[in-house]
């Protein structure tokens, strides 16, 4: 473990993933992390179109029924994370860090702050000014919320994480009241940068870079097929 402890793993999925299997994978990795069989591991992926509700999420924040979502090719799931309702689709980076924080929420404040910070710094790389809004989790720009954050702690291990809108069809957010915050617009890098929008691969690399510096955990690549689970 000593060699593994120095470097975490960055696992990037090339294709958009369905929601349920990646939630199951996180549970498996969190158990393995708790038992110290793997180092801290960060999943980078896109989801196939899905609306998810957090534990306290209320279906009144769904503006159409799950049946209607399915008819539009959008899946629906209740997730174990904190927070309310959100929408995921291709063109949005999902970052799921499976990290040992140490103790129950031993630095839940710091962790949330760090997740916001990695998004804010990534935006700054592309000359987009992003900021925190007091009393809310996530990252905002002048045009609206660009990243949503919701996580879950199990025995001091983090699950779930953040979603960052790069070039995602924002129409999907019209089907929900994002995070239960009525009247709060959602935006993407594409909306702000148009033709200058960086590729998804470049954004992923910046997210990893800032994760490594903000969280103090250098990552080495690991392919999904090589996870010991």
């Amino acid at each position: 473990m000593s060699e593994q402890a120095a470097h975490g793993w960055a696992v990037t999925f090339p294709d958009p993933q369905p929601f349920a299997p990646t939630e199951a994978l996180q549970e498996t990795l969190a158990r393995a992390r708790y038992e110290q069989r793997i180092p801290d591991t960060v999943l980078f992926l896109q989801h196939q179109s899905v609306v998810t509700l957090g534990r306290r999420g209320r279906t009144q924040h769904l503006l159409v029924s799950p049946d209607q979502l399915h008819k539009q090719g959008i899946d629906f799931h209740r997730a174990g994370r904190g927070g309310d309702v959100t929408y995921h689709a291709p063109g949005q980076w999902i970052v799921y860090p499976i990290l040992r924080l140490g103790g129950l929420g031993a630095d839940a404040h710091g962790y949330l702050h760090n997740m916001e910070e990695m998004v804010i710094r990534t935006c700054a790389d592309f000359d987009v000014e992003a900021f925190r809004v007091p009393g809310k989790n996530g990252a905002w720009t002048e045009a609206g919320k660009i990243a949503a954050i919701g996580f879950h702690l199990k025995r001091g291990i983090t699950l779930h994480g953040l979603s960052f809108n790069v070039d995602v069809d924002l129409a999907g957010f019209q089907l929900i009241v994002p995070c239960g915050l009525a009247g709060d617009p959602v935006c993407s890098l594409k909306q702000l940068l148009g033709d200058q929008t960086p590729s998804l691969r470049i954004v992923r690399d910046r997210l990893q870079h800032h994760f490594e510096s903000v969280c103090g955990r250098p990552l080495i690549p690991r392919t999904p097929a090589n996870l010991p689970v």
């Binding site: 957090g54 534990r55 306290r56 174990g80 994370r81 904190g82 103790g103 129950l104 929420g105 031993a106 630095d107 839940a108 404040h109 962790y111 949330l112 009393g135 989790n137 919701g150 996580f151 879950h152 702690l153 199990k154 025995r155």
Partner: protein
């Protein structure tokens, strides 16, 4: 940080108080301060049997959802229904009105395995 001397504790920041033949379980002042303002509590039901160190409840704060673990094995006799509408009681009074569960232990002697206040305090980060 408030750590009452008459309670038993777990490394995962739950407290246990022996009260006649049952025990009351909650989370510590440190735990509530780390989670910050609680917004939602998911408790098991009276009659459920719980196993030591297994997940028994989920607390959600403005920051995160976090699992709570059973300090000992036993049968739940009562849950704190007031938390449904007032989860903030855990923040304002973690050792009193913010209690979570009342449990009849399978074996009262299991309490001896838990940490005392001094041992628990040693597990907390230095302020």
């Amino acid at each position: 940080m408030n750590v009452p001397k008459d309670l038993k504790f777990t490394k995962t920041h739950e407290w246990v108080q022996l009260d006649d033949d049952s025990v009351i379980i909650g989370i510590t002042d440190f735990a509530q301060s780390q989670l910050s303002d609680l917004t939602y509590v998911e408790l098991p039901q009276a009659g459920d049997h719980i196993e030591a160190e297994e997940e028994v409840a989920v607390l959600e704060s403005v920051k995160a959802a976090s699992d709570i673990y059973a300090p000992i094995s036993g049968t739940i006799v009562e849950v704190n229904d007031a938390l449904d509408s007032s989860p903030e009681l855990i923040n304002t009074d973690p050792y009193g009105e913010g209690w979570l569960l009342r449990v009849t232990p399978d074996n009262v002697a299991d309490l001896d395995q838990l940490l005392d206040a001094d041992q628990y305090e040693e597990t907390l980060p230095n302020e």
